[in-house]
């Protein structure tokens, strides 16, 4: 099907974009990569009166890495974030999650900030931002605010972006100490939305004993769900951990729902299996982290094209 009619705005810088958004108010939608929005328009699930196309805002096409984390601008495509070596060195979970976002062709166009603003609880980047405790920068005409991830996701497809606001950047903080991460998921078909996905972060001490273990769950709750599973694994190493204990602990807090893709029981089963896989790999990776490593001192910026 074809998209419904809308009024098109093509600002060439941030100030113009914020002016346009202030003017169109709640009738307006932001068009970045469009890999979620345009399907919704084509299927007539959305019919905004105005579209503000931010593809001309090359100032927002950046991936900036500092020792503390990675800032991703609103026009950085998934593929650019995924390929960024400096970002990968500081926040490896970014690439671990991005390689699971749809297909490479979609990642060439779709933006990381756009998929966060879309707030689909099946979107891998929502779990990444939640597990890392990241934040979003929202700008409106005359002011800018930063919203912590806990306050950003409000419900399925609902983020705390107000009328006239533009999500201009996301910040993915580096996890401190000897921390390893992993992102695994299971989908019906390669590249589809996952029936269940798990992102895990495990921190070990100098003797490689687990001091912290957390996991974020995809497609299991209206907003990304982060569980602290440390109690099941504390003091264990990758060799002595009883991973099933962590899966059992997680199961107590998960309330999956069934749909046409998977029953609730099957999702619960997947959550358990993926919790084990993600935690084990994250723990093994944690052991390889140099706690005194000095990564992420470089800054890379990319042009819009």
């Amino acid at each position: 099907m074809k998209p419904p009619a809308f009024r098109y705005h093509a600002p060439t810088d941030l100030a113009e974009a914020l002016d346009a958004l202030a003017e169109v108010g709640h009738d307006g939608k932001v068009l970045a990569g469009g890999q979620s929005l345009i399907p919704m328009l084509n299927m007539r699930l959305a019919a905004p009166a105005h579209l503000v196309d931010i593809n001309g805002l090359s100032e927002l096409a950046y991936v900036r890495t500092d020792p503390g984390g990675v800032a991703v601008g609103a026009l950085a495509r998934h593929a650019e974030v995924e390929a960024d070596e400096a970002a990968h060195a500081v926040v490896p979970l970014l690439r671990q999650g991005l390689r699971l976002v749809a297909h490479p062709v979609i990642r060439n166009r779709g933006t990381t900030v756009g998929s966060l603003a879309h707030a689909d609880p099946s979107g891998e980047m929502t779990a990444v931002l939640a597990l890392l405790g990241g934040s979003m920068t929202l700008a409106r005409k005359g002011s800018t605010r930063t919203v912590a991830v806990e306050d950003f996701f409000v419900g399925p497809l609902e983020a705390s972006i107000e009328e006239g606001e533009l999500a201009v950047a996301a910040y993915f903080p580096r996890l401190p100490g000897r921390t390893g991460t992993e992102f695994v998921e299971i989908a019906r078909r390669h590249g589809d939305y996952a029936m269940c996905g798990v992102a895990a972060a495990v921190t070990v001490d100098d003797d490689l004993r687990i001091v912290s273990a957390r996991a974020a769950y995809l497609s299991l709750s209206p907003v990304p769900l982060v569980l602290d599973l440390t109690d099941a694994l504390i003091g264990r190493t990758a060799d002595t951990a009883v991973w099933q204990d962590a899966a059992t602990l997680a199961a107590g807090s998960l309330e999956p729902e069934g749909d046409i893709h998977a029953t609730a029981e099957y999702r619960a089963q997947l959550a358990g299996v993926l919790t084990v896989r993600a935690l084990r790999t994250a723990t093994e990776r944690a052991a390889l982290v140099d706690p005194n490593g000095t990564t992420g001192t470089t800054s890379t910026e990319r042009s819009a094209r």
């Binding site: 062709v105 166009r109 094209r305």
Partner: protein, 178 residues
């Protein structure tokens, strides 16, 4: 009959560069790039399947990178170089290595999905000239084909890598002869 007030839809004059050729046309903002290529510019090589980004038939290359033409508006494609399946062959008609490989390996049957595969694979081999079979499968994972069962498509990807290499060898040999 009652008069119905039909609001005038915004129309924009756009300039697109497709396969190195500049085009100008007038579109509504909601004109999808896939429809603009086919209906406004007459380039019907780009096929339209699902129109929500799943099937991959409409894939074109934007500044070299494969993207879904059904998930882009024509207005957004201004200022970028668009390559469609029509732009893959040499000007003298010599097939692109990927096209030749799909022909040799029977990588197509009805041909509906083929333009999407050709554009995706041509870009993939520029990034990875010597893929493994697994990498070849991953590369075409975003494109649906209902005829072939994919076996011959994967063979075609690997064969296209060989042909590209062979042609480079020929070019070198010709260079040496001079």
């Amino acid at each position: 009959m009652t008069d119905t007030q039909i609001p005038t839809e915004q129309r924009l004059d756009i300039r697109l560069s497709v396969n190195g050729v500049p085009h100008t046309t007038t579109v509504t903002p909601r004109r999808l790039l896939s429809d603009c290529l086919r209906h406004d510019l007459g380039l019907t090589g780009t096929h339209v399947g699902c129109e929500h980004g799943v099937c991959g038939a409409c894939t074109v290359r934007i500044d070299g990178k494969p993207m879904r033409a059904c998930l882009m508006f024509a207005v957004s494609a201004q200022g970028h170089e668009i390559t469609t399946v029509e732009g893959l062959a040499e000007p003298d008609g010599t097939m692109h290595p990927v096209q030749q490989a799909f022909r040799e390996c029977h990588g197509l049957q009805c041909g509906f999905c083929t333009p999407g595969f050709l554009t995706v694979v041509s870009a993939f081999l520029e990034e990875n000239p010597t893929p493994t079979e697994e990498e070849a499968r991953e590369a075409v994972s975003g494109n649906l084909c209902r005829c072939t069962g994919y076996q011959n498509i994967v063979k075609s990807v690997l064969r296209a890598a060989e042909i590209t290499e062979e042609r480079k060898g020929c070019a070198h040999a010709e260079g040496d002869a001079r």
